[in-house]
Point group: C2
Chain length 445, copies 2
């Protein structure tokens, strides 16, 4: 029998090879000796390296130990890198009143948010994060910085029931969300969302109004939800119901609403969130540091609630390394349930990739390595002492990988971090700018 | 008035400069723009960089962002890097019976322990760890590897009530401790100890015998203590008392006994340990991963129990990065007590340095940067995006530093890791050797 005539190889922009390629598709298979081919920012092939090499002639090639979808940071305040470590180990109220709010009032403007966001983007790209949700001020600036650096972002114009930097009234914030929607229409890397701050900083009327504006724009919602026990107690007292119930009543809790934290939830809350089609962004490191508590990650997973991971802002973490979030998402539930089988390594990595894509409503665009998706991925070096030997790639990702093990990061087919160097920004300059701002902050706060 | 005639500068071997020098002495002061001078392996000056430069002419110089005492890893099984990630996310019994013990039975010998220990030492030195406690087999080999690589070690010949690699009977293990004592007599980097495995693998008679042999040699004791709820329940059932009470009764609990874990302790246990002069090696990451639970770090600290940090073995962590232990020691108590002020950053760094030295009974030799102590230190690069800006050095150490931020490590005055490269071992070769062994392990377990 004749073999079928083989096709001549086609040209593509980039081939990414790995000792292991983890597509993160259903069943979470591993491809030993795999490769991903990229053309026009889109994944055109995923498979055995030899097969990909036979089919595709690459203009450019990168390689490493483990290739996986880029990480998706589902909650944070990028501009707050300016205040990284400004105040730690103190009660939330003291931290907010004596450090964060005075600093923000004095120093947070479009220029400093650009500087802080550029630093956050530099840090996140270097750790293999390719998409992030932001919830802060001056989101037009944040969108511009993300595009300039080649990073994918879900903008979140913060809506709060009192004057904040750039927004004297909540209504100004709603106008800004509309403006963002128009400004970034058709921009592939930047999507806007409405970021309602929390039930304790908004009236139910503002929540309803926010939900209505978001619905009108077809925009996702973000909200801090059930982060602290105080938030839940106060909401019960003020409104006779839990924060998720109040969100449901005001129309905030719905398909693709991103609920950040979800630390203190009742069984009814969990059912409400799951049935609404919303998801939870887990931020285990921030929740520990601010003494908010430990979310029931194993329970939420078992209940089928869509889960993503986040770092929260650098002021309460204090870095933006998603590998810490992955590790804590796998470790904490074991420690609290005393069951070592809950949230296995693969599941934690899933939350940080495809889980995050689902939270943003981006599951058709990113989150897995599949033909037709945009090429967002990262490559892990597994040659270091702490990654040796390698028995199972998922084990290393959850339990032995840190941000510094990332060697290449690709967003939308573009190698934005290559051989541990940024290609779209000058990190020395970015750090110097923030250090100059921080000197002024330190001298006044 | 005449100024006193200044002394001409004296020669020294090494000066280490830092934007901040943290001596970790009482009060935990910081020296901005500081330096440490070293001669003959000993610290001869600590102070402002200008003062040190005026007094000392250095043969060699290194510098970086933060200079602090080398980290002291107070609990681990170095040779188990061979089994890093071999089995995860499964019940302890299954993990031991199906993975660890079969692998150890077949593959753990002097040669493989040398290879695994060399890998552990490479990893630890690269993370700024300068001393480690070991609890494993073939400790003569471990001592030789540590000396060859220039790392400080407290050997711990494991004593277990059944045949283990290298020791057909517990009595053989006692003989080995005596032999270690003789073999490393006068060696500055290597000190032997008796490592009694645990109350559930030893009879009270063997514990008494171990304590007697250790007392005869003047050697510290190590023991796994109250790691799991099962251990405590079984001990109560078998002996009518808790593990610490049994250790006290058998003479095991005493000055400088290193109790690893201490996850499940009663108030009486805590009092017993404190009064005995023993200390606890906290291993928060391993305790989470194996679902042993979460130690009451804040309570132990408040009770005045001497505390050090450890990583445990790479089979249950899965890396040997003490910065993860520091971060968890600061974060976990906040999450479990809902009090953000417990275990502040400085306290967690203290546990990993001077706290560890106290646990080993080495407080006169290492653990702080003071004139007269041996020069064990590490230097942190604070220029990366995730360490920018820098408001408070302790904050960065606890909440934003990873092993990869260490640029130089000095043990006993010798720069064993310089500009992120080992000077005493070939890490590529070390990794290749372990990978070869791991291939055999993977094909049989």
């Amino acid at each position: 029998m004749n073999e079928p005539a083989s096709m001549p190889p086609r040209a593509c922009d980039l081939v990414v090879r790995g000792d292991f390629v983890l597509p993160m598709t259903a069943g979470l298979p591993e491809i030993a000796g795999g490769a991903v081919a990229v053309r026009g920012g889109e994944i055109v092939a995923v498979g055995a390296a030899d097969d990909v090499a036979a089919d595709w002639l690459a203009n450019d090639e990168i390689a490493g130990g483990i290739v996986l979808p880029g990480l998706i940071n589902t909650h944070g305040h990028a501009g707050m890198t300016l205040y990284r470590g400004l105040g730690d180990d103190m009660p939330l109220e003291q931290w907010l009143h004596e450090f964060v709010w005075p600093a923000e009032k004095k120093f947070t403007n479009a220029e400093t948010v650009a500087a802080g966001t550029r630093l956050a983007v530099a840090e996140m790209l270097a750790c293999g994060t390719t998409s992030f949700a932001d919830m802060y001020f001056f989101q037009q600036t944040v969108g511009e910085v993300a595009e300039e650096c080649g990073m994918r972002v879900l903008l979140g114009q913060a809506v709060i029931g009192f004057p904040v930097p750039g927004c004297p009234t909540p209504e100004t914030a709603f106008d800004k969300v509309r403006a963002l929607d128009a400004a970034f229409d058709g921009h592939d890397l930047v999507r806007p969302s409405m970021a309602l701050h929390a039930v304790y900083t908004l009236t139910p009327q503002l929540m309803e109004r926010g939900a209505a504006v978001a619905a009108e724009l077809g925009s996702p919602l973000q909200i801090h939800l059930s982060e602290t026990r105080t938030e839940v107690d106060d909401c019960r007292e003020a409104h006779g119901m839990t924060p998720p119930a109040l969100c449901a009543r005001t129309g905030v809790l719905r398909e693709h609403t991103i609920c950040a934290h979800g630390v203190h939830l009742t069984a009814d809350d969990v059912a409400l969130i799951r049935e609404s089609g919303a998801g939870i962004s887990l931020n285990p490191e921030s929740n520990l540091k601010l003494a908010s508590g430990i979310a029931d990650i194993a329970g939420l997973l078992a209940a089928g609630v869509p889960l993503g991971l986040g770092t929260d802002g650098a002021a309460s973490n204090n870095d933006l390394d998603m590998w810490d979030s992955i590790r804590l998402a796998a470790l904490l539930p074991k420690g609290t349930t005393l069951d070592p089988t809950v949230v296995p390594a693969r599941e934690a990595v899933r939350m940080a990739t495809v889980g995050g894509a689902r939270l943003f409503g981006w599951e058709q665009r990113v989150g897995t390595l599949e033909v037709g998706k945009r090429a967002d991925l990262c490559v892990i070096d597994t040659s270091a002492a702490h990654q040796t030997p390698l028995y199972h790639p998922y084990s290393h990702l959850a339990y032995a990988t840190h941000g510094s093990d990332v060697v290449h990061t690709v967003v939308d087919g573009r190698v934005v971090y290559r051989d541990r160097r940024h290609t779209t920004l000058d990190v020395t300059d970015v750090c110097a700018t923030v250090t100059r701002i921080a000197r002024r902050v330190a001298s006044t706060v």
